[in-house]
């Protein structure tokens, strides 16, 4: 206020009016201004440089704030939008007229004014970012969207008018990173089941983000420090929310690719970017820092899943040193209570092993430990078997190891779904074809013909696939599948009793079956001849109640034994 008064003194002709206004505003402190008056104030700032109006307008936000959270008034929405628009226009005017930039050759007085204006400008921005961050009632989302657009436009304006010389390349990093922070912290959305966020502001921001390289580059700039700070200061739920917002933003492919020319990419600001933005190495290291930090957050299981789903394709190629993500992957891979996370980790691990020469100790032991009864019931089983096929494709693997995998899979098939069995049979066939030494598991005449006592030597508890003795066992479980209830699976299983003439099965044909597709397959069959009927006669469908039982002892043949209606 002191500044205001001083200013008022220095500009005497207008000073009186300003004080007058102040008086009136004091009177209306309790109530909000009308739309018209807001417009009027705004026009006065632009037309007749009545900068003190800014204070009044900014104050309005304080009154608005409470109402925005709770009320549902349409008027308030209009008011809020008008207010933001007016203020934006005023500052736009100021920016365009160089009223917000300090230069050495200015006089003290004008410096003072500029400093004061800058102060107001900063507080305006702070208000905006605050509003973006909090959760408003659903009726005022339009205001938040307006604010997002205003802030992005401010960034554009700043880059144009706030640079020190006309030839300078400037990007308003601080403003943008503040905006990013508020976006990441925004509570406007909720975490969805797939670990992302449904916040409309974030989604709106994505529209700008996906097409503009500068927004992407500066998004990761210095983000790691903020993330680090949050990690120590915020609680688990907040961190998960941050991750969900972060994930929503970065899950789409970035403009960065290995052979890109950043100069060609479209940018949000109109001038060229500083040269640093065109250095892939800088981007990569920034990117890696923030990714590693955010992955160290305590995440939800669903968030693990969703980040792992995109990790190997979208994220690893953008990192400066992908090896550093190893720790995260190892942690994921060792999560025991959820089978899916390790399965999803496999993809990224494979990527690292293949491209970055990563050594994973006891890889096959770990892979073997993933073979649990749940595996054949998960949705991601096809993903697992695709990779597992790849890992076991080498013919130089030890027969013991391959035999263990085969035997274990056979065990699992004993209690698996039909679709699981559909995968296991051709998969085993291919393995046997590739490793003919393991054929002894199907055809072992030595032991079968001898009279010696024989006990299955397979040790189901052994964790090391090299030591399970599976090679000395036999695949009885697969033999049982020959009498599987589904006719096609039963027929498929019969290949183990026939000569192995086929070179290999194309696994892709078998991986993606489900009960639904199996049933759809049945639906298309046409009625040809009379459908066979049961000829056995049953005296009753249901068990007869007890009162009848006493009178009539000869209930012989009940279909649904042990059930009544």
């Amino acid at each position: 206020m002191a500044v205001v008064k001083r200013k008022a003194d220095s500009k005497s002709p207008k000073g009186k009016k300003v004080t007058k206004r102040q008086d009136t505003s004091k009177e209306s402190n309790d109530k909000l201004l009308t739309i018209d008056s807001i417009q009027k104030y705004g026009n006065e700032v632009i037309d007749s440089s009545k900068y003190n109006n800014l204070v009044i307008l900014l104050e309005q936000y304080q009154f608005l704030n409470d109402k925005l959270v709770n009320s549902k008034d349409v008027e308030i929405e209009k008011l809020g939008r008008q207010l933001s628009l007016t203020l934006f226009k005023s500052f736009q005017h100021l920016l365009k007229n160089d009223k917000l930039i300090l230069k050495k050759h200015f006089e003290d007085n004008s410096k003072l004014i500029i400093k004061w204006l800058l102060n107001k400008y900063d507080s305006f921005k702070d208000i905006i970012f605050n509003l973006i961050e909090i959760k408003l009632s659903s009726h005022f989302q339009s205001i938040q969207l307006d604010l997002l657009e205003i802030s992005l436009n401010l960034i554009k304006l700043e880059s144009k008018y706030l640079k020190s010389s006309s030839n300078d390349l400037y990007f308003p990093i601080t403003t943008y990173s503040k905006l990013i922070n508020s976006l990441l912290l925004t509570q406007s959305g909720e975490i969805l089941t797939d670990g992302s966020n449904n916040s409309f502001i974030v989604l709106e921001f994505l529209k700008f983000f996906t097409t503009n390289w500068d927004l992407q580059f500066y998004f990761f700039n210095n983000l790691s420090e903020t993330l680090q700070e949050w990690k120590s200061s915020k609680d688990t739920n907040e961190l998960r929310l941050v991750f969900s917002n972060f994930f929503t933003i970065i899950r789409n492919p970035l403009l960065y690719t290995n052979d890109f020319t950043p100069e060609d990419l479209s940018t949000w600001i109109e001038s060229k970017l500083p040269s640093i933005a065109y250095k892939p190495s800088t981007f990569k290291s920034q990117y890696q820092k923030s990714i590693l930090l955010i992955l160290s957050y305590p995440l939800l299981t669903s968030q693990y899943k969703s980040i792992l789903l995109i990790l190997h394709k979208r994220i690893i190629p953008n990192m400066a040193q992908p090896q550093n993500i190893m720790d995260f992957l190892t942690d994921c891979y060792n999560i025991n209570d959820d089978l899916i996370i390790p399965i999803l980790t496999l993809n990224s691990l494979y990527e690292l092993i293949k491209k970055y020469n990563l050594e994973y100790p006891e890889f096959y032991t770990k892979l073997y430990s993933l073979l649990t009864p749940e595996l054949l019931y998960t949705h991601y089983r096809s993903r697992f078997f695709r990779l597992c096929d790849l890992f076991l494709s080498s013919t130089h693997l030890s027969a013991n190891l391959v035999a263990s995998f085969i035997k274990k899979l056979a065990r699992l098939s004993m209690a698996s779904t039909a679709s699981g069995n559909v995968i296991v049979i051709p998969f085993t066939y291919n393995l046997l074809k590739r490793h003919p030494t393991c054929m002894i598991m199907l055809h072992n005449t030595e032991v079968a013909n001898s009279d010696k006592e024989y006990k299955d030597p397979f040790n189901n508890n052994e964790k090391d696939p090299l030591k399970t003795n599976a090679i000395e066992s036999s695949l009885w479980e697969l033999e049982v599948l020959m009498s599987h209830y589904h006719p096609n699976i039963a027929t498929l299983a019969k290949i183990f009793g026939e000569p192995f003439r086929k070179h290999s099965y194309n696994l892709e044909d078998f991986l993606d079956w489900s009960y639904i597709s199996l049933l759809d397959n049945e639906k298309t069959r046409r009625y040809k001849t009379t459908v066979a009927l049961e000829f056995e006669e049953f005296s009753n469908l249901f068990e007869i109640g007890k009162q009848d039982d006493s009178s009539n002892d000869e209930i012989t043949n009940v279909y649904a034994k042990g059930w009544t209606l």
Binding site: T372, P373, E374, Y377, S413, M414, A415, S416, T417, A418, M441, L442, H443, T445, V447, A448, E453, Y454, D456, S473, S474, W476, E477, E479, V480, S483, Y485, H486, P487, T491, F496, G497, E498, P499, Y515, I516, L518, L519, E522, K523, Y527, T529, T530, V531, A532, L533, E534, F535, F538, N540, L541, F542, E543, Y559, A560, K561, G562, W563, T564, L565
Partner: protein, 819 residues
């Protein structure tokens, strides 16, 4: 040999004794032989030889420095070889022949064909026109005056009945008088034509006919008859056409004729009417037929047994996935008969529809039944309308006591038997669907004491209809399958009561042991899908487990005969038990022995270890649960009931699959859970210890029996060899080694044909080329001749002119000199 060619020739001829003086020795030798055919041939040959000697170039091999091969006669021939020379000679021969042919044809050109004038003396150039005319006239006169021939076989008297009949030869009358003329004529005419047949025919009419003649006659006759037939046919056709045209007129005429009026009302008396109807009815009465001998009880029994045996065999075939020949129609008929017989029995229960609105007083009892059976047409009155939809059916049932619903349904089926009226089949098709829907509808209603029996009875009816209305039923069931799948996917995996009953009915109606079954296979998939969604549901409720135990039990029911393995059931039973038993965490240590999971977690479904259930009386067949119960109960006591049921199912499944080789692992896992249960409820679950021992025994036996697999017991697969095929009787000239003679022949013929064709084309070309050359040559000659002639003329003129000129000059000189 020396001397000129001529000398040599003379010498050669002489030496062979063909010409001039021969030496004495040879002469004596030759003279011994008389001249004969052979000798003449010898001579020709000798002359040919001599000719050959003098044409040395025809035989000599023209040796060249290098071998040159030319194509001659379609073959590669070495230039100058014997073959080549031969070919050249034949070629020149051909040329010669062609030349001859050409000349011949040229000579004939424009000289064949045309009209021959046969008139007397026309061709004779030596006769003048007057002489010709005179000669012709005399001949005409002669033929007219001598009517009868000298050798006429007619009687001597003058009756001239054979006027104009003369023997002819070559179309000319035979008579002695004209014989000379005939000879002359023959000499005059250049060609003559005699119809031998006609001549002979006329000569000897009595002669036995030759085959050719007979055939000719037959042909002529048949042609004649054919024509006659055609004419007749044409005639009738015309007649028909005429009649057709006039038809309209006739009809018009007839319409104009007035009909005698009939009395408007029948004049018959009541008695007469009654009599008429009786007579009419009598025609429909069943005639007395000798009845089939009543079969003895034993016969009936054996028949039944045989039928059962056949059905059993069919079932086994279907189980192994073999298609059986479709002789099920007979079976269907059998069932059909039984069904109608059955329905009669039901009728005797004394059911009748209230027909109070009808005019007739209907009495209950057998009398009416007979009437229905005897003359069904009369009783098809609209009192019972077959429902076209389920709503209609419900409406019509609303007025009837629920106990009598089955009888009512039977009645409908009875009345709308497809053989009674057209369209009944379609109506019944709809009705079967309605009935099926109704059973499921009943199941979904709130529980009622009578519902169960009602469903049972209706199901029995459906079963009887299933054979006849198979396709409709299948369609309805397939629709229901879709509905159930929707429920599984969208209703949190929870089904309705009707779906439970649906599963029972499917098992009851259809042969669930088949390898593939149009209905059962999809239903199996549906059921396993349903339990699978329960197994790994994060928030499974007791309701889910309840549903699962029912479906698992039904699945085992389905497999009671074929004993197919269902992995999902094994998994479900274990998982469900783990969800219900107290303190499942304790099992974690030995979790790798479990089949369903390695990671045992406790949920809020698990019973607390302090819970003490009250013991219920359990029958020998085990606990009986009702489907209704499954929906609403959730207490600990009920959970305990479910556990008992699960153990029962476990027992059932193990007994079902007792010869599967993987049972060791399953019993191991089951025993683990049972032992755990025993810790808590040893007093309540008395059956557990016996079960454990049973499982252990089974497992021990299996462990002893189980040997490593020897599945690959097939003949060793030979390695494919690709050695070249060796032809034993290889011959480079042989064109084909085809063993099929017919095909070989055809091939040969084809290639021959091709060759011939080529040769023919070649010949034709050669000939035409030759002819063209000849013509050009001729033209050249002609022009040469002409020019020469012209030159000659000019020359002669010039010489005469010159001579004249000289003459003139000389004359002039002479005159001068005279002067």
């Amino acid at each position: 040999m020396a001397g000129s060619q001529l000398k040599q020739l003379k010498e050669a001829l002489r030496s062979k004794g063909l010409v001039g003086q021969t030496n004495v020795k040879k002469k004596s030798k030759t003279s011994k032989r008389t001249p004969s055919e052979t000798r003449r041939n010898d001579k020709e040959q000798v002359i040919n030889d001599i000719r050959g000697q003098f044409n040395q170039f025809d035989q000599k091999l023209n040796r060249m420095k290098r071998d040159v091969t030319v194509i001659q006669g379609g073959k590669f021939v070495k230039f100058g070889s014997q073959q080549h020379n031969d070919a050249t000679r034949t070629k020149s021969n051909v040329q010669k022949n062609m030349k001859m042919q050409y000349d011949l044809e040229k000579g004939k050109h424009g000289k064949t064909g045309g009209v021959l004038d046969r008139r007397f003396g026309e061709a004779n150039k030596h006769l003048t026109a007057e002489e010709k005319m005179l000669e012709r006239f005399t001949r005409e006169r002669q033929s007219q005056s001598k009517k009868r021939g000298l050798y006429s076989l007619e009687s001597d008297d003058e009756n001239d009945d054979d006027d104009g009949f003369t023997l002819t030869h070559g179309g000319k009358a035979l008579s002695l008088d004209v014989e000379d003329d005939v000879i002359e004529d023959n000499s005059l005419s250049t060609t003559k034509y005699i119809d031998e047949d006609q001549v002979e025919d006329d000569d000897q009419p009595q002669r036995k006919k030759s085959k050719k003649e007979v055939m000719k006659e037959i042909m002529a006759k048949s042609k004649f008859y054919k024509q006659q037939r055609q004419q007749e046919f044409q005639k009738t056709q015309d007649n028909i056409e005429d009649l057709d045209e006039e038809f309209g007129d006739i009809m018009q005429e007839m319409a104009n004729i007035e009909q005698p009026k009939r009395p408007q009302f029948s004049t018959k008396t009541d008695e007469e009417k009654e009599y008429d109807t009786k007579v009419r009815e009598l025609t429909y009465d069943r005639r007395s037929v000798p009845a089939d001998r009543t079969k003895t009880e034993e016969e009936v029994k054996t028949e039944h047994q045989e039928k059962m045996k056949k059905l059993e065999a069919d079932r086994l075939k279907r189980m192994s996935g073999m298609e059986i020949e479709d002789d099920r129609n007979a079976v269907g008929d059998d069932l059909d008969d039984e069904f109608w017989a059955g329905s009669d029995d039901n009728e005797e229960d004394g059911f009748a529809i209230k027909e109070s609105e009808g005019e007739e007083e209907v009495s209950e009892g057998e009398g009416e039944e007979e009437q229905i059976l005897g003359r069904p047409k009369r009783t098809i009155q609209p009192q019972i309308i077959i429902p076209g939809s389920h709503e209609e059916f419900l409406k019509s049932l609303a007025t009837i006591d629920s106990n009598r619903h089955p009888a009512y349904v039977n009645k409908i089926i009875e009345i709308y038997r497809p053989n009674l009226a057209a369209g009944n089949k379609d109506k019944m098709n709809v009705f079967v669907g309605v009935l099926f829907e109704h059973i499921l509808y009943l199941a979904n209603q709130d529980k009622d004491a009578s519902t169960q029996t009602l469903i049972e009875k209706l199901t029995v009816i459906i079963k009887k209809l299933a054979q006849l209305y198979n396709e409709v039923l299948v369609e309805n069931i397939r629709l229901e399958i879709n509905n159930i799948q929707d429920r599984i996917l969208n209703n949190d995996g929870l089904l309705l009561k009707r779906d439970y009953v649906f599963f029972i009915i499917i098992g009851y109606l259809f042969s669930t042991s088949d390898h593939y079954h149009l209905i059962v296979t999809p239903v199996l998939i549906l059921m396993t899908e349903s339990i699978t969604t329960l197994i790994y549901k994060k928030d499974a409720s007791l309701q889910h487990i309840n549903q699962g135990i029912f479906i698992a039990d039904m699945l085992l029911n389905y497999q009671r005969f074929s004993k197919r393995y269902i992995p999902e059931v094994v998994n479900f039973v274990e998982k469900a038990l783990l969800l219900l038993i107290p303190e499942p965490r304790l099992l974690q240590s030995s979790s790798t022995q479990l089949v369903s999971t390695y990671n045992v977690i406790s949920t809020d479904l698990n019973l607390s270890k302090t819970f003490k259930p009250t013991v219920e009386q359990i029958g020998e067949d085990g606990i009986v649960l009702s489907i209704d119960e499954l929906f609403n109960n959730s207490g600990d006591q009920f959970k305990f009931k479910v556990i008992i049921k699960l153990i029962q199912i476990m027992d059932k499944s193990i007994s079902l699959w007792k010869d599967k080789s993987n049972l060791i692992e399953i019993t191991q896992s089951n025993n683990l859970i049972l032992k755990h249960l025993l810790k808590y409820y040893s007093s309540q679950l008395r059956q557990i210890p016996s079960l454990i021992t049973k499982f252990t025994k089974l497992s021990n036996i299996l462990t002893k029996e189980r040997r490593p697999l020897t599945l690959q017991h097939h003949r060793a697969i030979p390695i494919a060899t690709y050695a070249p095929k060796f032809e034993e009787n290889f011959n480079p000239d042989k064109k084909s080694y085809d063993s099929n003679i017919e095909r070989q022949e055809v091939g040969k013929m084809k290639s021959q044909l091709k060759k011939e064709r080529k040769a023919a084309i070649k010949d034709i070309r050669q000939e035409s080329r030759f002819v063209a050359n000849e013509q050009i040559e001729e033209k050249k000659q002609m022009y040469d001749k002409y020019h020469k002639k012209m030159a000659h003329i000019v020359n002669t003129i010039a010489t005469t002119e010159g001579a004249e000129k000289n003459e003139y000059e000389r004359e002039k000189k002479l005159r001068k000199s005279k002067k």
